[in-house]
Amino acid sequence: MKNFFKIVLVNCLFIAYAASASSKTKDCFETVNRAVFSFNMGLDKVIFRPVATGYSYLPAPIKEGIKNATNNVSYLIQIPNQFLQGKFDAGVKDTGRFIINTTVGLFGIFDPASKIGLSKNENEDYGQTLGSWGIGHGCYVVLPVLGPATIRDSIGKVGNVFLDPFYMSTVGSKEMLLGNNLGDQTYWGETVLDKTNWRAENLQTLNDLERNSVDLYSSVRSLYLQRRDYLTNNGSNSDDEWKDFK
């Protein structure tokens, strides 16, 4: 079984690497993707949006604390990826941020690091690291529940879970830290809070997008791919099609 996963992983990387030669990301499974997208939108309408709407009524300091704490946990993915991308300066700074906020900031609920000048860096994950190593997106895919991704980012998402020290010390390793049940509850609780917070922060943006799109699926695909390229290129857009536009 382990060998099977290795073969799948190597194949996916090879496809994604081969795709890096072409700049435009193909939607190879559009029919299936559109069906999954509709399913996800249904799920959002019935579960995620109502929960996020309820969450948005929480007092601002509570939401701020939750956001800080979940962001702090994400540094366990962010910091290794900064080093893997050769961003040593950012990696060292964020390690400092993580240590200060976890201790003085009470598990990251407060953000004293920002107050002493250690400001937050852009998020990094394993998908971005693969991109920075020259691996292309591969095909665009829509994953059930998880939403838009590409082959490269799907592999990255696997890394974001299984190489995450927070996952390893809670769900991954029952004997460590919190024990069996508490470990699971902590990991999944944090994940749910993180996603709910993100959805609540984007309630208006996503409503606007839905209302103002003539083909929502294509809009989301375009926005996702542009955003990932922007993050992988460290906040710059390399291609400016307006330069040669007549």
Partner: protein, 197 residues
């Protein structure tokens, strides 16, 4: 004599430099004044929603090169269309754009946009950088504006929010409809949007 020559050279240099930077400064001014005007309308509680939409549409149509944007959003499909189809599309796109932009803008009330700088790309193209700050959560969003000089008039052709180009997104949305439903499908989609808004 030497001093007079040097003085003249300095004056000429200053004049040339100020002319070189005038384009960027004018572009920055366009963005700041357009966003300020839009904000005043959005915040004015004495204006009814429909009137607000109308005023915002007017500002957008005045500041944006809608013809250029309509050509851009057709992408590669433009060369497959005849004159009459392009004319029909351009006319419809103008209404679609105005409705779309006013609908997006009217929900923004607590944000401040401040121009932070600009970069000249060519003799008729400048990217103006700005930052939008939300009063509620102090979130800062980076917005870049692509400003062009077309027939001596400065116009906006695109805005890029944290790396997301609105023009590109629109083009890819239309491209998807064009490839699956053809030109008539796109016209139907635009008409449906206009009738709903």
């Amino acid at each position: 004599m030497f001093k007079t020559n040097l003085f003249i050279k300095i004056i000429v240099l200053c004049l040339l430099t100020s002319k070189l930077y005038a384009f960027e400064k004018d572009a920055e001014q366009l963005i700041q004044s357009t966003t300020n005007d839009a904000k005043q309308i959005i915040l004015n509680k004495d204006i009814k929603v429909e009137k607000k939409k109308e005023k915002l549409e007017k500002i957008a149509l005045n500041a944006v090169d809608v013809d250029g944007l309509s050509r851009f959003t057709l992408g590669a499909y433009r060369k497959d269309l005849n004159e009459e189809q392009i004319k029909k599309y351009t006319k419809l796109f103008k209404i679609f754009f105005a409705k779309n932009i006013s609908s997006r803008l009217q929900n923004y009330s607590d944000q401040n946009i401040k121009v932070t700088g600009s970069k000249k790309i060519s003799n008729n193209y400048v990217i103006v950088n700005s930052k939008m700050t939300s009063k509620i959560d102090s979130q800062i969003i980076k917005i870049d504006w692509r400003v062009f000089k077309i027939q001596e008039k400065l116009v906006i052709r695109d805005l890029v929010v944290e790396g997301l180009s609105l023009a590109k997104t629109q083009r890819e949305e239309f491209s998807s409809i064009l490839s699956s439903k053809g030109f008539d499908g796109l016209i139907t989609s635009l008409n449906n949007f206009i009738s709903k808004n």
